[in-house]
Structure formats: structure tokens, C-alpha cells
């Protein structure tokens, strides 16, 4: 018999084993009992979205066929590797970019900028780590951080503080990369950042004549946009929360104007007001853009805080039951306002109220404070006190960080002017940073 035939006969014999046969019923029952718990677990997993997804992918024939080739598996591995490398690079790039806070609303507390002896200093949120920014020679006043917290704008006087023409200058928040935005502005007002941190607004005269309002690019490019004089000369423009308009005042009243100087409209007439504004901004938009708060001295020489909308209704006074109210400013979330009101004989006290004027809190520990500035998280306020100490007598000015919850003691930052009278209008600026 040949090998082939012998093999065939062997195979035929072996194949005779393939006959229908039924397993023992006892085995069937026992194995079924063992399998059912596993079936239930599988059913539960399949009901989850992950189970449905993996099952859907696995039973797709094209996907299975594609992965059946070792070459394709290798290719897939390489692609995964490349994707991982790209993902890693992306993480590094994103990580190297600083997270920025929104222009309005609550944010994290960064550093505090203030002026000491004619120069811009910054301190950490607890008043420590104080350092002077390297902004060059001359004198700087009224620093303000941009809404995104990355830059700082200030007034630069070449000869002496607050005297003569000043330059509008912008630097990084650490004082580097200084840019001159506009040179030699006579009567330069405070400087207001646009919500997108790209432009600044100010008032003053770039030549002979009345003061104009201006909008300029913060990087120094281009020429400032002239908003006009609004009659006899404008001062203290501030941005609306959407960055499309500004509020600006003159002796004729308070106006709202588009950022390109068009479509100005009078919202508060000047016939009943001797002067708008006090120590800083003439007015301030609420974070939601619906209300404007301002300080004004009426014909009876009474200085009070008012709120007006753009709906044509008359202004509402919110500094209630006091002979003095000034320096009002919105909390970052727009639910409260802080302002100074006359205290019990020694000077104004820091007052917190709601937008209707209802007083929520008064912090009467020190007097002669002014220009309250909210911390970006809305829990603290920094003010200037030029009569520090329990005796309430004039002395070297300080900045005071006040905890509104009264859980922490006041933090005192020494910030004297060059002379006792040299106290800047703008107490401080608190840097907004992304929430941790």
C-alpha cells in the first residue's frame, strides 16, 4: 500500500469519530448555571454607552478587515505614535500660553499696582513682594492693568509728577517691553482700557485748544481716534462693557459715543450739575452694560453718587441719607457697588450697597480713604489713606487692603508720595488673572 493510500485510510478511520452526540443533561444544566452570571454581566456592560460603542466598532467588517493586515497594524501603530507626539507638543504649547481672565466678571486676584514716590510699584495680593517696575526715568502715575492682566498702562511725566504734558505708555505687566502710545498730552486724564485689552481711551489736548477724547491702539500703532470736544472740552472717557461705546463728560453733560467718535448722545444734561466725576473716572459702566454709575456735584455743592440707564429715564441717586457720596465703582460681578460716604465727623467711610442704593455694609475703621478698588474676586477692596493711623492726622499715604468679610486684618502697603500732597487720584489697580 502506498503512503498516500495508507494516509487516506488512517484519515478515514479518524473521521469516523465525527458523529452527532449529545452532551449529558447534568453537564448541560451545570454549565448553564455557571454561564448565566457571566451572561448577565455581559448584558449589563453592553447596555452602557461604552459597551454599545465598542460593539459597534468591533462588528464593522471593514474595520476588522483593515486591522487584519500586520502591515496596517504597524502603520496604525506609527500613526498612533505620531498622534501622541503631536498631542504632547500641543500640551506643551498650550501649557506655555498663559490662561487669561474674561474682561468682566469675577477673576483671580493677581498683583496690585500703585504709585510710590512717583514710580509704579507692584505687590502681591497680600501686600508682600513689593517691587518697582522698570519703567525708565521720569515719573509715572495712575497705573492700570489691562482687563486680561497681561499689560499695564500709566501716565508718564518727564519732569515732575502731575505737571506738564504726559505720555501715555504701555508695558507688560512686569514692566518690560514698554511702548509709548501717545506723546505729550496736556491735561492727560486717567486712561481706560477697552474690554479686549487692545485699545486705550483718554482725554487731553494733543496741541493748543480744548481737551478732546481719544482712542488709541495700545501697541502704539496708528494715530489716536479723536472723539471730539463735546462742546467746551471733554474729559475722562470710559469704555462700555461690550467695547463698542464710551461714556465721556464735558460741562454740557454726560455723553455716550461710539468708539469711532460717531453718534454721540447726551444722557445726563449739565444744567443741574456743576461737575461730573471725582478722583478718577467720570463714570463707570456696569459689567452687564445696562447702567452707568457716576459722581456729580450738584448746584448746591452736594457731591453724590448716581446711576443712570440708557433707557431715557432720569438718573437715580444711590448715595442715600448722606451729605457726601463719591468714587463709586461696580463690583466685578455687578451685584454691588462700593463708594465713599461721609462718616461720623472724621472723614468718609467705605460703603457697600446694592444697585438701588440699599446699604449692605459700612467699614468705618479708618478715615480719609478714597477711590476704592475691588479685587477681581470681589472679596477685598484696596483704598488709599493719606491720614493713616489711629490719630487720623495727615501723614505718608498708604494703600490698605480691606477684607470685606472681616476675617483678615487690614493689610497696609506704604506708598508715600514725593510730597505730602502728592497722592494720586487713582489709588491702585488690581491685576485680573484666570481663576485657579
Amino acid at each position: 500500500m502506498t503512503d498516500g493510500r495508507a494516509d487516506l485510510r488512517v484519515d478515514m478511520q479518524i473521521r469516523r469519530l465525527e458523529t452527532p452526540v449529545r452532551p449529558d443533561e447534568a453537564f448541560v444544566s451545570a454549565s448553564l448555571a455557571d454561564l448565566l452570571p457571566q451572561v448577565r454581566r455581559a448584558r449589563s456592560r453592553d447596555a452602557s454607552w461604552l459597551g454599545r460603542l465598542s460593539r459597534g466598532l468591533a462588528v464593522t467588517p471593514r474595520i476588522r478587515e483593515w486591522w487584519a493586515s500586520p502591515r496596517r497594524v504597524a502603520l496604525g501603530g506609527i500613526l498612533v505614535l505620531i498622534a501622541l507626539v503631536l498631542f504632547g507638543l500641543l500640551v506643551v504649547i498650550i501649557g506655555s500660553h498663559r490662561r487669561l481672565p474674561p474682561p468682566f466678571g469675577l477673576a483671580g486676584n493677581g498683583r496690585i499696582a500703585y504709585v510710590e514716590q512717583g514710580h509704579v510699584d507692584t505687590a502681591d495680593l497680600n501686600g508682600g513682594d513689593r517691587r518697582q517696575l522698570p519703567l525708565g526715568p521720569g515719573f509715572q502715575t495712575e497705573p492700570r492693568f489691562s482687563p486680561d492682566g497681561t499689560r499695564i498702562v500709566f501716565k508718564h511725566f518727564a519732569q515732575s509728577p502731575n505737571q506738564g504734558p504726559a505720555d501715555v505708555e504701555v508695558a507688560d505687566a512686569d514692566g518690560l517691553n514698554l511702548v509709548v502710545v501717545t506723546r505729550a498730552v496736556t491735561g492727560l486724564s486717567h486712561i481706560s482700557w477697552s474690554p479686549d485689552s487692545q485699545d486705550v481711551a483718554f482725554s487731553g489736548a494733543l496741541g493748543p485748544g480744548a481737551d478732546h477724547g481719544y482712542v488709541a491702539h495700545a501697541d502704539g500703532s496708528g494715530s489716536p481716534v479723536d472723539l471730539g470736544t463735546f462742546g467746551t472740552g471733554a474729559w475722562d472717557p470710559t469704555w462700555s462693557s461690550d467695547g463698542t461705546r464710551l461714556v465721556i463728560v464735558s460741562e454740557l453733560g454726560m455723553f455716550v459715543v461710539n468708539r469711532d467718535g460717531t453718534h454721540s448722545s447726551l444722557i445726563v444734561g449739565g444744567e443741574t450739575v456743576k461737575e461730573f466725576g471725582q478722583r478718577g473716572e467720570a463714570a463707570e459702566w456696569s459689567p452687564d452694560g445696562t447702567l452707568i454709575v457716576y459722581t456729580a456735584i450738584d448746584l448746591n455743592d452736594s457731591q453724590q453718587v448716581w446711576v443712570v440707564g440708557l433707557d431715557g429715564l432720569p438718573p437715580r441717586r444711590i448715595s442715600l441719607d448722606t451729605s457726601l457720596g463719591r468714587d463709586a465703582t461696580w463690583s466685578p460681578d455687578g451685584t454691588r457697588l462700593a463708594y465713599m460716604r461721609r462718616g461720623s465727623g472724621l472723614g468718609p467711610v467705605l460703603t457697600i450697597c446694592d444697585p438701588t442704593g440699599r446699604v449692605l455694609d459700612i467699614l468705618p475703621r479708618a478715615y480719609a480713604w478714597y477711590q476704592p478698588i475691588w479685587s477681581p474676586d470681589g472679596t477685598k477692596i484696596v483704598v488709599t489713606d493719606d491720614r493713616p493711623g489711629p490719630d487720623n492726622v495727615p501723614g505718608p499715604a498708604v494703600r490698605v487692603i480691606v477684607d470685606l468679610a472681616r476675617k483678615q486684618p487690614d493689610i497696609i502697603i506704604p506708598a508715600p508720595g514725593i510730597t505730602p500732597d502728592d497722592v494720586p487720584d487713582w489709588a491702585a489697580s488690581w491685576q485680573r488673572v484666570a481663576k485657579p
Binding site: M1, I14, L17, V21, P23, F27, D46
Partner: protein, 187 residues
């Protein structure tokens, strides 16, 4: 009905079987006999081993349910799993045999019983002979002769090269022939 439709329906059959305990029991009782018969014939009618491997096959099938795409009959897919279980079993046996150095002894014992088995010519005798063979011989006969796999595929299952598997198949047939006796030797 298209092939695609059939695939989906077959895949659905497994999903429906897992949808409830009752459905699973019905499906299990319908498919188990064919899987069990497949395994039993390939492990020399060793009932307990066939039961164990059948059970392992269904456990693995439930675990790998997502891999069943419905392109084959569900029992064919189950038998494919069972084949791997058999291969695992044979590999384990082979390792055990090597460890105990019993391979040669068992072959001799099988040969000694060949005279009695030669004329029986029944399936029990065939099964006994098959069971008496070394694990590697049983495996290659099961995969090539019973499953009809190409030698290379059987070798892949057993972790051997095609040449080594061909040589093993030759020796396995010789072992079976010698153990089964004269009927296969005379012509």
C-alpha cells in the same frame, strides 16, 4: 438576502441570545451539542475533557462577543474558539509529557494494545487509539484530518513551522497506524 444582511442577522442572533436568561438557555441548548460533538471527536471521546473545553469555549465566546461579525455561522465561530482551546490543551499536554518523559512509554503502550484493537474497527477503539497518542500527534490529527486545516494553519495553531508540522503529521499517522493495527497495514 445579501451577505451583509445575513451577517447582521447572525450577529443579532448572538445579541438576542444574550438579551435574557431564557433566550440564552434556549440558544445554549441549541448550539452546545454541535460544539460538544466537535470537541469530543477531537479529544478522543474523552467526555470530561470535551465538557471542560466546551464550557471554556462558551465562556470565551461571551467574553469575545463583540468580535463576532456574523459573517460565519455562529457554531462555526464557536468551533473556531474551541479549536484554539484544543490547541491550548494539547500544548499543555505536550509540556506535561516532556516534563514526565512519558512520551515514548505511552507510544509503546498503545502499540501493545494494537492487536486487540485492530479488528474491532469501531469508533470506541479509534477513540482509544487516538487518546493513547502523544498530545502533539493528537493535535495535528485533529486539526489537519478532522478540521481539514492546511498544514501551515495547523502549525500556526500549534506554534510550529509548516515543515515541522508536516513531519509531525507524518509521524502521527504512523503512530495511529501502528496502534490501530493490521487492518490499515494490509491491503
Amino acid at each position: 438576502m445579501t451577505a451583509r444582511t445575513r451577517s447582521v442577522e447572525a450577529a443579532n442572533e448572538l445579541q438576542e441570545a444574550l438579551a435574557s436568561d431564557h433566550a440564552f438557555e434556549a440558544w445554549y441548548r441549541r448550539t452546545l451539542p454541535r460544539v460538544y460533538a466537535y470537541v469530543l471527536s477531537r479529544c478522543g471521546n474523552d467526555v470530561s475533557l470535551a465538557e471542560e473545553l466546551s464550557q471554556l469555549t462558551f465562556v470565551a465566546a461571551i467574553d469575545r462577543r463583540a468580535q463576532f461579525d456574523g459573517r460565519s455561522d455562529i457554531v462555526t465561530w464557536l468551533c473556531g474558539i474551541a479549536r484554539h482551546k484544543l490547541a491550548d490543551h494539547f500544548r499543555a499536554m505536550e509540556r506535561d509529557e516532556r516534563r514526565r518523559m512519558q512520551l515514548h512509554v505511552r507510544e509503546i503502550q498503545a502499540s501493545e494494545g494494537a492487536a486487540q484493537l485492530a479488528n474491532l474497527d469501531d469508533r470506541a477503539a479509534i477513540a482509544d487509539v487516538l487518546r493513547s497518542l502523544p498530545a502533539a500527534h493528537r493535535a495535528v490529527l485533529a486539526f489537519v484530518v478532522l478540521d481539514g486545516l492546511p498544514v501551515a494553519d495547523a502549525g500556526r495553531l500549534m506554534g510550529r513551522s509548516p515543515g515541522a508540522t508536516q513531519s509531525l503529521l507524518h509521524r502521527a499517522r504512523e503512530s495511529f497506524r501502528r496502534a490501530y493495527g493490521g487492518e490499515l497495514g494490509d491491503d
